[in-house]
């Protein structure tokens, strides 16, 4: 559990982060979202002391982070950077092994853990001896994630982790990311300016603007209970898509007209968007598509009221 209270950071007397407080719960993915310059990256970097706050305090599991040496604190927190931040003079294997080497793990243990992560992140074994510049952007980012995961830290901080990737690669990595068992036990804070990514990955979203938190809540709360116009305007252009994505089949299930649907079982945890997407491609599924669409509209009314 990570707790920030009353955190401020000034650059040249102008506040980059202004009196913010929030909490990231155990095993939660919290997304810091906002336009560029809103202070989200600064906030993230204060958690592993890459930047020291001017005011306020940060605790992890109740312990003030200033009580540890910064190196030791950082070795206990995974960190993924925007442009992978891999060491150009280290091979993939050496890059992944940086933290365990600092922690003086034995070689065999490092090797086994590396192989395990390579497999989980769909990286081919022959990449181990390559240098980062010989990898594609997606591969580099996966290696960056492997490097952050290797030491089994309970906390993972990610600074625009997929920001440099093209949309197709990004979509692949998103789905892999969500299915990674490794991540299910971690408290993760992700910084992004990509609204879709925030909704795709975040359990909760913390929307920031001009160094302050505007609203913090679940994706659903962001769309259906915005605290002000800034929040609703911020999501306006993607709204329909986002609504379809966050509504799950189990949410709309009560509104489905069963006779039209037959016995087709669909996953209750799939999003309305994904199912409609699947049905939209086939003429034979037209009726089912309609049924879901209607059900979603009915569900939506209940949410907006």
């Amino acid at each position: 559990m990570i707790n920030l209270s009353g955190i401020s950071k000034y650059f040249d007397k102008a506040p980059a982060v202004d009196e913010i407080s929030f909490q990231a719960n155990e095993k939660e993915i919290l997304v810091l979202l906002g336009p560029s310059g809103c202070g989200k990256t600064t906030t993230l970097k204060m958690i592993n002391r890459l930047i020291e706050p001017d005011r306020g305090s940060i605790t992890i599991n109740g312990q003030d982070i200033k009580e540890q040496k910064p190196e030791n604190l950082r070795r206990g927190i995974g960190f993924v950077m925007q442009h992978s931040g891999l060491f150009p003079h280290y091979t993939v294997e050496e890059n992944i092994a940086v933290v365990p080497t600092l922690l003086k793990w034995d070689k065999k243990k490092i090797r086994n853990r590396t192989m395990e992560l390579m497999e989980k992140l769909h990286l081919a074994g022959q990449l181990l001896t390559r240098l980062p510049q010989e990898l594609s952007g997606g591969q580099q980012q996966r290696v960056g994630i492997a490097r952050a995961l290797i030491a089994n830290t309970p906390i993972l901080l990610m600074d625009e982790p997929f920001g440099a990737l093209d949309n197709i690669t990004k979509a692949d990595i998103h789905s892999e990311f969500k299915s990674l068992e490794e991540l299910k036990n971690k408290t993760i804070i992700i910084v992004t300016h990509d609204i879709q990514e925030a909704f795709e990955l975040g359990h909760r979203i913390c929307l920031m603007d001009k160094g302050k938190i505007v609203q913090i809540g679940t994706p659903k709360e962001m769309l259906y209970k915005p605290v002000n116009d800034f929040v609703s305007d911020f999501f306006a252009s993607n709204r329909l898509l986002l609504e379809h994505k966050i509504a799950l089949i189990k949410d709309v299930f009560p509104f489905i007209t069963k006779d039209k649907f037959g016995d087709n079982i669909i996953s209750a945890d799939a999003s309305v968007w994904d199912v409609m997407q699947q049905y939209s491609g086939q003429n034979k599924d037209l009726e089912r598509y309609d049924a879901i669409s209607k059900a979603f509209n009915a569900y939506r009314k209940t949410q907006l009221s």
Partner: protein
């Protein structure tokens, strides 16, 4: 004398000396480079960590770099005496700037993202330095070392001025002795060494850090070997420390004569005459070659050992000038002859003493002398053609050039330009022949042995007596070069062996033969 000798023959004949000079040269270069790396890299790291010191440190290193190398060597002598130490310190100072600067830019040039990643992964400051910043900055740092190495190979030629050896012995000896083969035998290997070192280091630089990791130790190993070879001879201590100028080393009326005629086989260090006297005074050297009218003999209480077997021929000073130049400037010869016979040995020694020791300017010394001897005339500020006076690079010649300048300006309508400090005999003489200068004061002995180089019999015949030597060179110069020797100024600045008065008295040495006997006894 092998006058027809070509470069290859010279190299074959002198290969032992050449090899030892190359080893010395490399030893000097590497040793200074090693120290420069030991000082420069940590300094570069320091200023990359504390940036407020960066401009100050780089500024100071930059200023040191701009001090002319000869001057820097000069500063080193009072601090470190002569020999390897001052040379290495001076070279170190020269190598510092490129090494500090490149270490600084190498480290600060490492991508901010990568450094942040290292920090974020939990590296502390020194882990970051050794695992990330230094390896990634290494190509730039090596480039700095490469620049420093090439600079040092060049500057190390000057080490021979302070008896530190190296290829400068051949180069400066050759310039003094009018021996092109000798110059080339020093200059070509020096240039080759620079190229070789440059390319070897470039190889290290181009290959990535990973691929050279395994055999990177080879380069320091070679460097270390050269350093050891260089330092070894310095340990042996002989009874006398002997310092000769490069010129003296190669002359019949120098080290060669000492061997042939006196049977005196000394093991001298090569040293510049600019510092030789002081080194003798301070006890860094015991026996030096020098000039008999040098003011520093008086200043430093040295004594000349009598040349009892007459190997040093007379060196009567007189201006030499092209006969056609004399025609072009009517009245010039009479003006120059005003000085004929006016300066004897003791007067010259005194004039030299004033510049060398009392630090009076040559202008002042010249003016005082002319005023005192009634020759001084205020400059006419005429608008005639310009006469260019040359001088070699030692005190006496500066004074003579000034005296002639004042004489010409006071007695003729001509303007005067002085071109002083023209290295050795060869440079002055070549400048005269190429009309770069109109005249300069030369010495009969030099004219005989360095410029004319007749066979040994002729030398033996004419060099026993001042007048014979003068007559011989005057007639030969007219024939050979169309150059005229004007009337002698009056002093004889011959070569001489000298030592501290006190030591000479203690050992009861008066003549060169005494020295020979003294050494044989031991």
């Amino acid at each position: 004398m092998n006058r027809e000798q070509n470069l290859w023959q010279f190299v074959v004949e002198q290969h032992e000396k050449l090899l030892s000079q190359i080893v010395q040269h490399l030893g000097l270069t590497f040793l200074s480079l090693l120290f420069a790396i030991l000082v420069g890299v940590p300094l570069g790291i320091l200023i990359s960590r504390r940036k407020k010191f960066a401009s100050a440190v780089l500024g100071i290193a930059g200023i040191l770099q701009t001090v002319p190398s000869i001057a820097l060597l000069g500063f080193m002598i009072p601090l470190f005496g002569i020999g390897a130490t001052p040379a290495i310190v001076a070279l170190l100072i020269y190598a510092l700037l490129p090494i500090i600067r490149n270490t600084y830019t190498g480290i600060t040039g490492v991508s901010k993202t990568v450094v942040e990643a290292a920090t974020a992964l939990g590296m502390n400051s020194s882990q970051r330095l050794f695992k990330v910043e230094l390896p990634l900055g290494l190509p730039v740092i090596i480039a700095g070392i490469r620049t420093a190495a090439v600079i040092n190979v060049g500057v190390a030629t000057l080490a021979s001025f302070v008896a530190a050896g190296g290829l400068g012995e051949f180069i400066f000896g050759g310039i003094s002795l009018n021996n092109s083969n000798m110059i080339l035998a020093g200059a070509i290997p020096a240039a080759l060494l620079a190229i070789l070192l440059d390319q070897t280091i470039a190889l290290l630089q181009k290959n990535s850090f990973r691929s050279i990791k395994k055999f990177i130790w080879v380069v320091p190993a070679i460097a270390l070997l050269c350093i050891i070879c260089y330092l070894k001879p310095w340990k042996s201590k002989q009874q006398f420390d002997i310092g000769f100028t490069p010129e003296f080393m190669g002359r019949q009326d120098g080290d060669l004569g000492l061997r042939d005629v006196y049977g005196l086989y000394l093991n001298p260090k090569i040293v510049s005459d600019a510092i030789m006297y002081k080194a003798a005074f301070e006890g860094d050297l015991d026996i030096i070659s020098g000039y008999s009218t040098d003011g520093r003999i008086k200043a430093f209480d040295l004594v000349v050992l009598t040349d009892d077997k007459k190997i040093f021929p007379p060196y009567d000073a007189a201006p030499i000038i092209k006969t056609q130049t004399l025609k072009r400037f009517p009245g010039l010869e009479t003006t120059l002859d005003l000085l004929a016979g006016r300066i004897n040995d003791s007067v010259m020694t005194d004039l030299n003493y004033r510049t060398d020791y009392l630090k009076q300017s040559p202008e002042k010394v010249a003016k005082d002398f002319l005023t005192h001897s009634g020759l001084y005339q205020s400059p006419r500020n005429g608008d005639g053609a310009t006469i260019r006076i040359g001088s070699k690079i030692f005190g006496e010649q500066y004074i003579l050039a000034e005296i002639y300048k004042m004489l010409i300006e006071g007695n003729t309508p001509y303007k005067v330009e002085t071109k002083t400090g023209l290295g050795g005999t060869k440079i002055c003489f070549d400048a005269l022949m190429a009309d770069g200068i109109d005249f300069y004061p030369e010495y009969t002995g030099t004219g005989l042995l360095v410029l004319l180089q007749p066979d040994l019999k002729t030398v033996a015949r004419v060099s026993k007596d001042s007048k014979k030597t003068y007559d011989f060179v005057s007639s030969e110069f007219v024939k050979k070069y169309d150059l005229k020797w004007l009337k002698p100024i009056g002093f004889n600045n011959s070569y001489a062996l000298m030592m501290r008065n006190k030591q000479a008295k203690e050992l009861q040495l008066k003549k060169i033969s005494d020295l020979k006997n003294h050494l044989d006894k031991k």
